[in-house]
Symmetry: C2
Subunit: 91 residues, 2 copies
Amino acid sequence: LKGLAGTNIASRKKSRMAVVVKAEAAGVGINPDIRKTEEKVVDSVVVSELSKPLTPYCRCWRSGTFPLCDGSHVKHNKATGDNVGPLLVKK
Amino acid sequence: LKGLAGTNIASRKKSRMAVVVKAEAAGVGINPDIRKTEEKVVDSVVVSELSKPLTPYCRCWRSGTFPLCDGSHVKHNKATGDNVGPLLVKK
Ligand code: FES
Ligand code: FES
């Protein structure tokens, strides 16, 4: 019984590892919500049309004002331990 | 024994679900490799310094020429089913 229990624990650990390894190998998308009906989300900034001298653009895919940055990267970084931030476009 | 086996399977399924749910709840970072020693990766484009009329900037965190886009979003989208793409800066 002790041997059996040991096998079950090992098997459970293996199965957990398989899930983690599979997730890393297959890769996980980075955009959960933005314009998911589009095959590829590409945006353009025409710099001559910018009103302010500095405009931050989102690279975390969590902004409520995408493609602009609204500061949501702060919450994302805190929740995940990530280190992403915006692209600042300066005219 | 049948009951015991049933319990083990249920327990293993629960443990797998816990891993998946935990991963979703905690969130997963979107930047695996770029400048991980920096607390927050922020870049600036000074548009008057751009040489070409159109410059694509990476938002997938997979580019070998980050902060520029090198087309790596194509491989990322194919591998994960994601739909991310660059920001095109036009002067
Ligand atoms: S909200 Fe996404 S980078 Fe700031
Ligand atoms: S390589 Fe990252 S968006 Fe193109």
